[in-house]
Symmetry: C2
Subunit: 222 residues, 2 copies
DNA sequence: TAACTTATTGACCGGATGGTTAGGCCCGTG
DNA sequence: CACGGGCCTAACCATCCGGTCAATAAGTTA
């Protein structure tokens, strides 16, 4: 519990004092992340953060000018894994495989980041603080993903690979709704739900009908 | 803003003093609902509630023993419209019509109660307070709805009225995911989204395929 | 070692918050 | 009319919170 894990993510050329400073700053950030995420902003006091980080309260104010500053630092730290480039291995695969891969990516991402996602959604819903610093990156990510879906679905429709009863934008919106629904299911029931595979199967059935190609890989990897 | 609306929901045989008491209690509750829902528990001070209700702070503590008491009262008041009996006009309609009606009911309910739903979801996500008093009723409602869906879908499958590629429970779960996804879409984009109709159309297409009967009514009523 | 910068702390401050109390007002009842 | 109880309030209290500050330890440099 009181383990003093030297984090040592610092730059290489740095004096030991600076190293220690970075270390303490990191310890504060870790404690703040834990507390802010589990209790929220207003319910977490700086004294608690200080105690959890084994630091004096004043030191926190030396590293971060104000409580909101600390919160922003926590936010951006939590947002780091959200910098994903969904449009990666685009080239070789056909539209169906790419769509399947995108869906898997979404669900895997949700599974791996359930904690911070829960925090962010709560934060977004109640626009209490820093909703701007959140809506920006989140919306950007979301819109990028959506645009990719629309494009892929449109091309798949053109090649008669997926359902064409509705415009691509509508299909993409519906697909996103499904994914978001599964997301909140995963947020509320943290049992390692293996039915994600079944959900993927049903989505593919809906999207591609009989076109159930072998696609990429198994949907869930540890 | 400072309108003194006599609510008068009291019992008939009551002294004017008691009437006034009930009235003030109601005024406090209304103000508390407004504040708690828009700012949350910890961000709302009793002084604010008092000011918003045109009452002295002490009076609040006379009506409600503690701040948490007031919050619980707000919770149960907000939960009142959630006491729905989905299994209402069951008899005459066939399974497809009933399912369509259930879907419409869900979405209309979400549209009409977006405010409190947003509040509840945030409250549930961050289990900060009274999560027990919430999870109980909410889960009960949710499970009832789900059971109804499973039953209806099972019977529809038996009569070959909807897609049979997956067990009824899985289809119901997927349908719920879709609805929840649409829900959070409505929670985040408060523009009176008319695309709910399109979503319903896509769901029906998915569930019933070509079986697109005339169903009940227009999906959205003022 | 002396001067100087950087980290870190305990003690402190003004303000706000949840909660209390002593006392007034109002009204039905003897 | 007095009086007693339900309704309501101004003033008060203890506590906690975000934030500041003077002092000090820990290098670093000259």
């Amino acid at each position: 519990m009181a383990a003093v894990s030297k984090v040592n993510t610092a730059e290489q050329g740095a004096s030991p004092a600076e190293l220690r400073a970075l270390d303490s700053r990191d310890e504060i950030l870790k404690a703040a992340i834990e507390l802010f995420a589990n209790r929220g902003f207003h319910e977490t006091s700086m004294a608690e953060v200080a105690r959890a980080a084994n630091v004096s309260k004043a030191l926190i104010f030396w590293h971060f000018k104000t409580k909101e500053d600390l919160f922003m630092a926590v936010l951006s730290r939590l947002l780091e894994p959200y910098a994903i480039d969904f449009a990666e291995e685009a080239g070789a695969l056909d539209e169906v495989a790419q769509l399947t891969r995108l869906i898997e990516l979404y669900l895997m991402f949700v599974r791996d980041n359930a904690g911070s996602i829960r925090f962010f959604v709560a934060q977004l819903l109640r626009g209490e603080l820093a909703s701007d610093a959140l809506t920006g990156p989140v919306m950007q990510l979301y819109e990028g993903y959506r645009a990719l879906l629309v494009d892929l679905i449109g091309r798949a429709q053109a090649r008669d690979l997926c359902l064409k009863d509705f415009p691509a934008a509508a299909v993409a919106r519906m697909l996103l709704s499904m994914l978001n629904g599964i997301l909140i299911g995963m947020l509320f029931a943290e049992d390692e739900s293996a039915d994600v595979a079944s959900a993927i199967a049903m989505i593919r059935q809906w999207l591609f009908g009989a076109h159930a190609g072998a696609a990429t890989d198994g949907p869930a990897a540890s």
